[in-house]
């Protein structure tokens, strides 16, 4: 029997604030998995800590809710241990671009075949409203009472420069569009980033649904070619360069490259988890004699 979006639901109530961008986001993710006909037991959703972290609880697949910022190392190992699995890593902007940024920088060099969804709400939500690495200049928060004075981190620009092979941005207010981006990311062979504008209705009074709706437009509508790196880099800076008058969403950049797993002959054709454990060490011993 074909898998449906309902199969990915759980009985427990999703406890995010009413109107939270996470609702649209999780609907898009479940829809993408259902559209791709993914078997629930073959999917692992790895999350960090923060409101985004709850996603692994609210989707009926295998899940791992790790520590704050540590989504990517756990997800990387899941993939290396069993290349048959579909691995989705999810974290927030604080989780992935703040405390866990080192993992983000390095995973792009490695090009594991996994998908990273960032719930980017430009604020720390679960800790009740501090500035995040993507909070816009001048934004007032509990930790920036006089306004943000640090340049916001640009994940799209960093991802293209960093070696990510699928770089997209979605908007939780457009779940149908987001679903297609996530599908593309899962189907892409290599490391895919989907950074998602995900309005925090409680703590971010600046970047609201309305704020985004006035600014977002779809790259594909403007004829953007995702294989054009130069154009992708220009588009990655359009929001800051236009002082956020224009915030493109869609697929910025895509490139085919061997994955890290492809380059490991010991797991070619056979996932690590399926290898036998009986080992004959006699040849290894000879080297010590």
């Amino acid at each position: 029997m074909a898998v449906t979006i309902k199969d990915f639901d759980v009985k427990e109530k999703m406890q995010w604030c009413p109107g939270c961008g996470n609702f649209g986001l999780i609907t898009a993710l479940k829809g993408a998995l259902a559209d791709l006909g993914k078997d629930q037991s073959e999917v692992v959703v790895v999350t960090g800590i923060g409101c985004s972290g709850k996603t692994s609880h609210y989707i009926n697949t295998y899940g791992f809710e790790s520590l704050h910022g540590r989504t990517l190392p756990v997800a990387s190992a899941v993939k290396l241990a069993n290349t048959d699995l579909t691995v989705i890593a999810e974290g927030g902007d604080g989780d992935g671009y703040g405390i866990g940024i080192q993992h983000f920088i390095h995973i792009m060099r490695r090009n594991y075949d996994l998908t990273y969804l960032v719930h980017n709400n430009e604020i720390y939500g679960l800790t009740t409203g501090q500035a995040s690495p993507t909070s816009l200049l001048g934004m007032k928060t509990k930790t920036t009472p006089w306004g943000v004075i640090e340049t916001p981190f640009n994940p799209i620009l960093s991802a293209i420069n960093g070696g990510a092979t699928y770089v997209a941005r979605g908007f939780a207010g457009e779940p149908a569009h987001l679903k297609e981006l996530i599908k593309g990311a899962i189907e892409h062979k290599g490391f895919s980033l989907v950074d998602i504008f995900q309005p925090c209705v409680t703590f971010n009074k600046l970047n609201t649904y309305e704020w985004f709706r006035e600014r977002v437009y779809k790259l594909e509508d403007m004829g953007h070619k995702p294989t054009d790196k130069k154009a992708a880099l220009e588009k990655a800076e359009e929001d800051t360069k236009t002082d956020y008058k224009k915030c493109p969403i869609g697929l910025f950049y895509k490139e085919e490259k061997p994955t890290y797993e492809d380059l490991l002959p010991q797991i070619k054709g056979k996932p690590l988890v399926k290898h036998g454990l009986k080992i004959d060490l006699s040849k290894a011993y000879e080297e010590f004699m």
Partner: protein, 600 residues
Amino acid sequence: MKLTFRIGAQAGAGVMVTGRVLGRCFTRGGYSVLGYPEYPSLVRGGHNVFQIRVSDNGVSSPITKCDVLLALNKDAVFYHKDAVVDGGIIIYDEKIDISEFKLGKKIEKVALPLEKLLKDAGATQRMANAVQIGAALAAIDYPIEIFEGVLKDEFGRKGEEIVKKNIAAARAGYDFVKSKTKPIKSVKPVSKKRKMLVGGNEALALGAIKGGLKFYAAYPMTPASSILHYLFAKEREFNIVVKQTEDEIAAMHYAIGANYTGVRAATGTSGGGFALMTEAMGLAGLSETPVTVFLVQRVGPSTGIPTWTEQGDIRFALHASQGDFLRCVIAPGDINECFSLSAEALNIADKYQIPSIVVSDKFLSESLFSTEGFDENIKIDRGKIVTKLPKLPPNTRFERYKLTKDGVSPRPLPGTPGGLYVATSYEHDETGFSTESFSMRKAQVDKRASKQEYLLKDIPAPKVYGDKNAEFTIVAWGSMKLPALEALHRFKQDKISANLVHFTYLYPLDEKKVKSVLGKAKHTIMIENNSTGQFAGMLKQYVNWEPDFLMLKYTGRPFYAEEIFEEVSKLKKAGFKGKKEIRVLDKEDLEYYNPQRYGL
């Protein structure tokens, strides 16, 4: 027969390789060998020394004296001249001016024309160590053919020409020393049966591979790095995935993620790296994900003295991470235990779904030891992994954290139909869903803690070595078994009745088992390579036992057997009365980091 070599040179001159090859010449002759390196935290400069002890009767600890000093530079003569025994020999490059040193009259001195010997043999500068080893073997009249065999095996892949040149270089050194002086001893092979010469970290890695290790993630850190190097070298041969990560935080999370997915996985580091892993220790504890950490101690706190040894991190291993949760701390005491306990640590992690920590130290991990072979009788026990499960009702999860009598719950691996669950760092209900229910919180804490009772059944009592009814007992854990055993040997020679109680399983501790052994001891002297007696404190806390004397050394060196022998002999003379704490300082007070301090 007991014989000690020292090879000294500046860092980067290759004394480790020379030492290893020289050691192999003797394990091939059936001898017991210990290779002990000392080096400062420098890539060039400073001073490196490698001690090789050879014996036909077991050898386990470095000592302060040597019979043969192979001095590859002037510093080596300066540092080790006083260590050479009367009747010993110093072999040095003729370019070194030794006239400024006062050398013992009863010590033979041979100036080696290294450059000329190499040239005459048609060998290159890179083959200098073959000349030196040949020279050292001549000094004790050991058959050069054994060394030639080592060279053939070592360089065979590089072609006949290289082998030939190396052998010529070895012969040149050998013949030169033979022509200049009479050997100080005549040493012949004792057996045709070769032993292995293995580094502590290599044994940990081999044991893990035999124990089913499939994944290893680590960030380089002395003295744990050679586990990573060995596993990398072997990853394709044994189908292991080895990952060098961006930091130790990542390494630990990789190990946890791989274990969650179902492969046996571990990470390894030293104290500073383990500090970065502490948060994830708790993640493994709460999510009940098996994980094994190799914690190879060095001198702390902080960067400390990074290339020297200490047993200062077991309290840290025991308490790393917030909250209460069970872990198992194991400390192998010799090369064979490195192998078997490494595999056992993987079993314990899997069987009880807890973190297990294998505690070693620089001394055990970076020294070389001979062994007749490892005990391969290892039964891999994957615990309660479930592979076949009935279909789950729609939108429900498997009870991964089901409350069970032994505290261990069935564990499906991702990919298993019917096993959907979420592993989480939050307190959770039986399906893994987060909960703040008071009763469920208590039930889950109690469930996890109840594993201890069962784990303790698997843990043996500390081992006793020596006379059962000894007059006094030395108590040690981990690598301090080695000098303690050699001290026992000294006591035995003097017909003094002594024994050793040695701990490999440090936590959890079973009061009955521990007391069944220690309760019989008359006078007890505990030795620890740290400054506070960390394990003595644990014994007091967990099994309510205290030693009569606590002997501590924390200079960066392990205890030497001589030090234990002398200090315990003093206690014995005093009728085992006196100050409880004894702090030991090395007699030889020279530092290798700053040779310039001595005008070198």
